[in-house]
């Protein structure tokens, strides 16, 4: 993401390039989110979540919102790091268990872990005033005015995000106790060395959003004026030249405020914000319904969706695809190269060496030890010499 932002000025002049970037970003966000909904390994879910959020950032950049993307990168860092460390804490407490189907009812045993994890989950879902809300909303607002279709995908994905992250929370910490018996005894909250970072990050995930409060909001709420758009202001020198040189999409700034872009009203902004929050809450509610108190409803739904569900759960079988079309041919080439090296190249080299040695063995046979033979050979040599000299 950092690299994309840095080289923004390279692809910015091309409308096609920008379009491709934003579409890829939007697609990634949606695609990864759907997979995250069906996974059972804590870290896998978080990994696909990361992928999805990165998609948001890329999408924003394709529409010229480089500083918005960087803002989301920052807040994402806060809550994603928190999520991962929290997951680590849980895994540590359960002596290595990573499958959320074998967790549950951990709030009492791991209060701090749960608390900070929940803060992160709220942040990523996009609930104000936590960090994720401001950054994700900035992106969605910017997208709405440029490519409403992409906005639709992004908004829907936001709902999915809320769903899958709270599915994770419910199945891990709440719902029914599905922990394996042997691990129960091991259950313990992590030491302060592990909890301290969680707390710090939770704090950042809570207040981090205020780094980039949009201007219209800052004016509305008293006291926020000073913090208005601090981050974009800070990053402005980096992207200013690119933006000035650009047209249309490239000139986009926070919330569409930039040259040549009108049509954005405060009301529109508020409306979009409300919509975002609504989607987030809906996602959380849906997650609670399915997994809050045991997963029979989820299981029935999964069964009902059948092969479609299985496809998503198996991550669209992309790994298998890669294996088939990339890895297998590659290994084949490696084996072929090895065979070539051993049977062709080595053959040639060794043949030369062996031929030389055989020649040596043959020549050595002439050294008979017989003085008469030697003298004869010398005599022949002299005759040959004479003949040559006389002829020429």
């Amino acid at each position: 993401v950092f690299l994309l932002a840095r080289i923004f000025f390279i692809y910015m002049p091309s409308e096609t390039a920008l379009l491709i970037v934003s579409c890829v970003g939007a697609f990634t966000a949606f695609f990864a989110a759907t997979i995250a909904m069906t996974q059972f390994d804590i870290k896998r879910i978080l990994a696909f979540s990361t992928l999805s959020q990165l998609g948001y950032m890329v999408m924003a950049m394709g529409l010229g919102g480089v500083d918005v993307a960087m803002f989301h990168l920052t807040t994402h860092a806060f809550f994603k790091a928190l999520l991962f460390l929290g997951a680590g804490s849980v895994i540590h407490a359960l002596a290595g268990e990573q499958d959320i189907r074998r967790m549950g009812r951990l709030t009492r045993a791991l209060p701090w872990t749960f608390g900070t994890f929940a803060v992160a989950a709220v942040a990523i879902a996009g609930i104000p005033p936590f960090a994720g809300f401001f950054s994700k909303d900035s992106i969605l607002a910017a997208v709405f005015f440029e490519q409403p279709i992409l906005w639709g995908a992004g908004a829907f994905t936001a709902g999915l995000t809320a769903f899958y992250i709270w599915r994770l929370v419910f199945l891990t910490f709440l719902s029914t106790d599905r922990v394996e018996k042997e691990r129960r005894g091991h259950l313990h909250e992590s030491p302060w060395s592990m909890l301290a970072p969680l707390v710090i990050l939770a704090f950042l995930a809570t207040v981090g959003g205020f780094l980039g409060v949009p201007a219209f909001l800052a004016e509305s709420v008293p006291g926020l004026h000073a913090a208005a758009e601090w981050l974009p202001g800070y990053l402005e020198p980096v992207f200013r030249d690119a933006r000035v040189a650009g047209t249309g999409m490239g000139a986009l700034g926070f919330h569409g405020q930039a040259a040549g872009h009108g049509g954005v009203t405060a009301a529109g902004e508020w409306g979009l914000m409300a919509l975002s929050v609504l989607l987030a809450v809906a996602g959380i509610a849906w997650a609670w319904l399915l997994h809050g108190r045991g997963g029979e409803l989820a299981a029935r739904m999964a069964a009902g969706l059948g092969s479609g569900y299985r496809l998503v759960r198996d991550r669209f079988r992309i790994d298998e695809l890669y294996d088939r079309i990339i890895l297998k041919p590659f290994y084949f080439m490696c084996r072929a190269a090895d065979a070539f090296d051993r049977f062709v190249i080595d053959l040639m080299v060794n043949t030369v060496a062996i031929a030389t040695e055989i020649t040596g063995h043959v020549l050595k046979l002439f050294q008979t030890g017989s003085v008469r033979a030697y003298a004869l050979s010398m005599f022949i040599g002299v005759v040959a010499l004479l003949a040559f000299l006389v002829m020429s």
Partner: protein, 509 residues
């Protein structure tokens, strides 16, 4: 009463030769006394060699061309350089011999005397411009070496070596003499310089054309005879058997000395006498000899398991490299040959020296020259192993050792001729370099055996006397010196080619 007019004798000129002769006689006298068993012969020999070297060095400072005895003895730079090499190698050989002689059934005092006489003969041959004096020197050292190679006469191998050397040596001496006779017949002079003028006249068409043919035959026969001494193919057959059978320090001296002076005479012959006559012919002849020597020497050395035989074939190969330089017939070629010869001297003496130490020498015979004897030498004698590695690497031609510099010069000379249009030299260069690579296989095999092969059982430590160790160390260090600072020695060889040709010009002009 008429006074007997004595010719003016330049005593300084014959200083080295005279010193060696006198010392040899003294040692022979000592050999008749009970003192022969003590250290006296050894000390006397060293003293004599030292004195000879001193007088040689004194001659270096004098004028570039000095002659005595009616131009029969010529102590020009070339003669002094090769003479220096001969004396240096004699010194090192003597140092290597003492420890060896303690274990062998050979009369030590006579050994030293013969060695001194051989050195003297080599000096005579090197510093002469007269065919007959060349022959005289040749015979002196040849006969001395025949005896030396068989001096351990209780050993069958040694006798075999001596007899083979004698028979084949006599055969080749016949060639040389016959060639000299033809040249004398064609040119009417024994002096190389005078021959030069006559040769040119003959081949320019003046004089009897039949004599031109005779001259040609003479050249051919002389090259053949010298090629024997130099160990060029197809005159090299004696080398493996004689090198293997002779006592190792003798082999060392033989390998260096005879080759050196024979090469020098060959050089004089083709540069002075036949400098600009028949050039294409003798170049081709020498080039072919070089090619065959490099091929046979390297390829057969590859499959030897006895280190003395391996070194013998390696010296055949080196004769090939040196012949390339001589065949080039340029200033660079001459300098390259002489410089590389200095490096060759050090490696040969050093390698044979180590071989003589590592071997198992008893009253009964000389064993332990098989390659397996070197396994684990790095652990039992790290110093010797290191020295041997230096010698092997120099023979291969690895920088920064002298062997690399020498080979570089030689191939530079060859390529110079080759790029001028002489295709045979391109062939020689390519083949020579490829064969140098092949030679790495059998030289490095020794190093690998010493450092990476485990001996069966415990390898006993080789006892090295201080003088032997000193000689080996000098050889190894000398290789580094020559390799890193070649200029000092190289300058001595510079423009010798032109000098040798200039002598001819003097006479012609």
């Amino acid at each position: 009463m008429n006074e007997i007019l004595t010719p003016a004798i330049d005593w300084a000129m014959v200083g080295p030769i005279l010193t060696l002769t006198v010392t040899a006689c003294v040692v022979l006298l000592v050999a008749a006394t009970p003192a022969r068993r003590g250290p006296l012969p050894f000390i006397l020999t060293l003293a004599g060699l030292g004195a000879a070297t001193g007088s040689l060095l004194a001659l270096w400072e004098r004028s570039v061309h000095q002659s005595a005895f009616g131009n029969m003895l010529v102590m020009d730079r070339a003669a002094l350089y090769m003479g220096g090499i001969v004396l240096f190698s004699a010194l090192l050989s003597v140092l290597l011999s003492r420890q060896y002689l303690e274990r062998v059934p050979a009369p030590a005092a006579e050994y030293y005397a013969l060695l001194l006489l051989a050195a003297m003969g080599m000096l005579v041959m090197a510093s002469s411009n007269n065919l007959l004096v060349i022959f005289m020197g040749l015979e002196i050292f040849s006969v001395a070496l025949y005896v030396l190679s068989g001096i351990t006469r209780d050993w069958l191998r040694s006798l075999e070596a001596a007899l083979k050397y004698f028979l084949l040596g006599a055969f080749s001496t016949g060639f040389i003499l016959y060639g000299m006779a033809f040249i004398y017949g064609a040119t009417g002079s024994l002096d190389l310089l005078a021959c030069c003028r006559q040769a040119r006249d003959l081949l320019a068409g003046q004089g009897d054309s039949g004599m031109a043919l005779v001259l040609l035959l003479g050249l051919a026969l002389m090259i053949a005879g010298l090629a024997f001494k130099v160990a060029a193919v197809p005159f090299h057959w004696w080398v493996p058997d004689v090198y293997e059978g002779s006592p190792t320090p003798v082999t060392a001296f033989m390998a260096v000395g005879t080759k050196g002076v024979a090469f020098l005479v060959l050089l004089r012959l083709v540069t002075t006498t036949f400098g600009d006559v028949l050039v294409a012919q003798w170049t081709m002849v020498l080039a072919v000899l070089a090619l065959l020597s490099m091929l046979v020497g390297n390829l057969v050395a590859l499959v030897q398991r006895n280190i003395k035989r391996m070194l013998a074939f390696s010296s055949v190969a080196h004769a090939g490299y040196l012949l390339v330089a001589v065949a080039a017939g340029t200033d660079l070629g001459t300098s390259a040959m002489l410089f590389y010869f200095a490096a060759y001297m050090l490696t040969t003496l050093g390698a044979f020296g180590v071989a003589s130490l590592v071997a198992e020498t008893t009253e009964k015979g000389d064993q332990g020259y098989g390659m397996e004897r070197y396994a684990g030498l790095s652990r039992s004698n790290p110093g010797l192993a290191l020295a041997m590695s230096v010698f092997m690497l120099s023979l291969t031609g690895v920088p920064p050792l002298a062997g690399f510099v020498g080979k570089y010069f030689i191939f530079q000379a060859a390529l110079q001729r080759g790029l001028e249009g002489s295709r045979i030299f391109l062939v020689l260069s390519v083949v020579g370099i490829l064969l140098s690579v092949v030679s790495a296989a059998y030289y490095l095999r020794v190093i690998v055996t010493m450092y990476m092969v485990n001996p069966e059982g415990e390898r006993p430590r080789v006892v090295t006397a201080p003088d032997t160790g000193f000689a080996i160390a000098v050889a190894a260090l000398g290789l580094f010196y020559l390799g890193l600072y070649p200029t000092a020695v190289y300058d001595m060889t510079r423009s010798l080619h032109t000098t040798l040709q200039a002598l001819a010009a003097l006479w012609l002009g």
